[in-house]
Symmetry: C2
Subunit: 235 residues, 2 copies
């Protein structure tokens, strides 16, 4: 946690926060802060700054806030990612948020097992928690937009063309061929397939919706590794 993220409920006055639970425990056990220390803080959806520790014990953390910084800008990036298996989901969602994506779409695909959608990790409460962990990691306060697209075809045919917003859509796929797209216009929409890849019909639908192929070469990377490598390459 590089930024302690505060919620409206934590603010007992405009410049005074009171925290309990996970964040209290983290500040005590990991930061090992003491009264008088200053922590990097931010208000969800708002400004960032410093919080001076007024009180810290096993009941509560109280902070005096100075909020004078704006959060870093989002990347003009929509990540459309085939729903990863539950074991990987948390890391992927947190990584996407930490990298600064403005929007994340979790999309169904042929090789996404139905059970993934029913995982407890797909509860909105958990997904939001992962986004917040990503923001705390990257020192950001603004949640990306998160969409769940449980039906591939309606999303790709009806929603995706509008999401492209006059920018560049890219379909990342190992061995898809073609030259690397040049002159990428923002916003960028980046589609990343499931383990095992998109099936041919999905590739065709995504290309028809306006995405351009982006060959990933012969190395097949884990979803979160591929995601970060692509964001590093594009921005």
């Amino acid at each position: 946690m590089n930024l302690l993220l505060l919620f409206q409920d934590d603010l007992v006055a405009a410049e005074h926060a009171r925290l309990t639970g996970r964040r209290l425990a983290h500040v005590r056990e990991v930061h090992r802060a003491k009264v008088g220390d200053e922590l990097a803080v931010g208000v969800l959806g708002g400004k960032m700054g410093r919080g001076r520790v007024l009180r810290l014990d096993d009941e509560v953390l109280e902070l005096a806030l100075v909020l004078d910084q704006t959060p870093p800008p989002k990347l003009p990036l929509t990540i459309v990612i085939a729903l990863p298996r539950p074991k990987v989901l948390n890391r992927v969602v947190a990584a996407a948020a930490s990298l600064g994506a403005a929007r994340i779409v979790l999309l169904n695909a042929w090789k996404v097992e139905k059970a993934y959608w029913a995982s407890p990790r797909m509860k909105l409460e958990n997904l939001r928690e992962q986004l917040i962990l990503g923001l705390e990691q990257a020192k950001d306060t603004v949640l990306p937009e998160l969409r769940l697209a449980r039906l591939f075809r309606p999303f790709v045919e009806s929603d995706l063309p509008g999401l492209l917003g006059g920018g560049t859509g890219l379909l990342a796929h190992p061995g898809i061929g073609g030259a690397a797209p040049k002159m990428l216009l923002a916003p960028i929409t980046l589609a990343i397939g499931p383990e095992g890849g998109w099936i041919e019909a999905e590739v065709q639908s995504l290309l028809t919706a306006g995405l351009r192929p982006l060959d990933l070469g012969s190395r097949i990377l884990r979803t979160e590794t591929a995601l970060a490598a692509l964001v590093g390459r594009l921005f």
Copy 2:
């Protein structure tokens, strides 16, 4: 596992392999292969190709091999990374191998806790296993060179200048400033700090050894995310 990696001990003849253990279980339970199926295979340090399943039961997997492909080239990249905490170590080592780094150096730093070096995960047997998982993920057969540098100063002052090999060394650090280096000459050496970053004296030592600063911007990424994003940006 996108590539089934075979060792010399598995080869009962030049074109005939016999496997047990983790890989047998994986092929049965995840690939759900049957006799006659073909699997992507490679021989550690050697060629890749296909293996046709001759026998598959709870005792053994036997394959008839056709090895006619060379593994993908390594990136001309040395990753010098402050030893991550044990919970993260496996993922970082596997990711570095999957990305195609030719050499990985795990380096001590001020903010690396001593206990990390004593973790069971630091046993060479485990580190090698993680490298192999990375190769199996990325469809590669060639182990990167792995070095452990438990003493920061001797490594940076005596070994690092030689490792640069006339190429470009980069010191990734959030907010270090300076323009992004241009005209990067291969091989590239990329130094990535610990959680909490390099301390100032380490930054100075690394710059003196010939690295150039590479500003990571304001977003602080997890080690494995930063690693992949940097490799995506540089190659």
